[in-house]
Amino acid sequence: MGKITRLLSISLLVLLAACRRDTPFSETSVNDPVHFYPARFCVVNDEALPIRSNGIFRNSTLLYPLRDQPAHVSFDSLTQRLCLLYGTRVELVDVNNWEMVYSAGLPFRSEKIKSKAGKAVLISSDAPGTCRILDLAHPESFRETAYDFMLTDMTIDSAHVTLLGKEQLLLCDRELKILSSVEVKGGKAVAKSGPDLYVLDTDGLWYYSIQNNSFHEKQAVH
C-alpha cells in the first residue's frame, strides 16, 4: 500500500510540474493572423500624437501620463475632449490643459469608442450588444440601449448613429432611437459621411445612400 501511495504522490507532482509549463502551442489560434492591439496613437486637432505604454506624447514631451494603454481613443473637436476607453472604464481628458475631467466604470466590456459634435458612442465587445451614448459636456448623463445581437462596429456624425451587428445594420438618431434597419451577413465594419454609408460584410462591400432618415439605395462595390 505504501508503494501505491508513493507512486500516486509522484504522479501528482509530475502532473503539477507539467501544468506549470506552458507549451508554445497553447495560445491564440494559428488561423487568425489579425490580432487586437491597444490604441497606438491619437489625432488631436489634426495632430497625430503617439501613445506609448506610459503616456501620450508630443515629440518627446509627455502630455498625459497613462497607467495602462487604452484599448481605443477618440477626439471630439467641438468639446476639445479626448475619450479614452480601457475595456471596462471610460475617461475624458480636456486637451487644453491635458487634465482628466471624467472617469467612470462600465457595466460591460468595450473596445470601441467614436465621437463627433459633442457626443461619443461606445459599444460592448461581448454578446449581447450594448451601446452607450455620452454627452461629452455632461458625461454623467448618458443613454444606454441593449440589443439582442452582438455589435461589431458603429459610426457617429452630427445627424446619426449607425450600429452594425452580425446580422443587422441600424440607423439611429443621436438619442439611439432606431430610424431604419437593414439585414447584413456577418457585418464587419461600417463608415458613414453625410448621406453615404459603406458596409463591409462577409459577402463584400456595400454602398447605401441615406435619404429621409432611411436606407435608400443599395449597391454592391467591387
Binding site: S9, L16, A17, A189, A191, D196, V221
Partner: protein, 190 residues
C-alpha cells in the same frame, strides 16, 4: 475470526475516503511529508521557463530601406484582412491589417490606390485624410494640392515596437539589439 487490516482498501470504502485516509497516513510520516512539501515548494517557486516568459510567435521583419524609401502609393489590389473603414472627403479608406490601406473613390465606387503601410494596425481620420501607424512610424495620407489622395507626411520612430499578440516578451533573438540591423517588426506569426 478474520483479521481486518488497519487501512481499508477501495473494495470496501468509497475511493475518495480511501485516498483521504492514505493522505493522512502519509502525512504522519514526517520525513516523507517534509520531502513532499519541499518538492511542491520547488515546483511552484521554480523559475519561469522560457516558454512562459517569451512569445511563441515569430516576427516578420522588414528593412528600413524597403519600409521608408520605396513609393508609398501603389496600384489597387485585392483585400485580405479588412479591419476598419473611414470615409473622409469623398474617399473610403479600408485598412488591410499589416499591409496598408485601400483607397476607394466615392463618386464612382472604385478602388484607386493602395496606400502601402507595412505593419499597420490602426487608422484615424483627420480633416483631410487619415493617419496610420507603420510599425514604429506614423504616416499620413490625404488631400494634397490637387490630389484627392496622396502621401502627406511621416513621423519616424515615434511608436513602440509591435508587441507579440500573446502579450509575452519578444524572444531575445528577435530583440532590436540582437536581430539584423535596420529592421522593424511588421507582423507576428505562428
Amino acid at each position: 475470526m478474520v483479521a481486518v487490516s488497519k487501512s481499508s482498501t477501495p473494495r470496501n470504502k468509497p475511493l475518495l475516503l480511501y485516498f483521504e485516509n492514505e493522505y493522512f497516513r502519509l502525512m504522519r510520516n514526517r520525513g516523507l511529508s517534509s520531502l513532499l512539501l519541499a518538492t511542491l515548494l520547488v515546483v511552484s517557486c521554480a523559475k519561469v521557463s522560457d516558454y512562459d516568459q517569451y512569445s511563441a510567435y515569430y516576427p516578420d521583419l522588414m528593412e528600413h530601406k524597403y519600409l521608408r524609401e520605396f513609393p508609398f502609393i501603389g496600384f489597387p489590389r485585392n483585400s485580405t484582412h479588412e479591419t476598419q473603414m473611414e470615409l473622409v472627403n469623398g474617399v473610403l479608406y479600408i485598412m488591410d491589417a499589416y499591409d496598408g490601406i485601400h483607397a476607394l473613390r466615392n463618386t464612382d465606387k472604385r478602388k484607386v490606390y493602395f496606400l502601402i503601410a507595412p505593419g499597420c494596425t490602426q487608422m484615424t481620420p483627420y480633416s483631410s485624410g487619415i493617419v496610420s501607424d507603420r510599425t514604429v512610424d506614423l504616416i499620413t495620407f490625404g488631400k494634397k494640392g490637387n490630389q484627392t489622395v496622396d502621401f502627406v507626411g511621416q513621423q519616424l520612430d515615434v511608436l513602440d515596437e509591435l508587441a507579440p499578440p500573446d502579450g509575452k516578451e519578444i524572444p531575445p533573438i528577435f530583440q532590436r539589439q540582437n536581430r539584423q540591423k535596420n529592421t522593424e517588426i511588421i507582423r507576428w506569426e505562428k
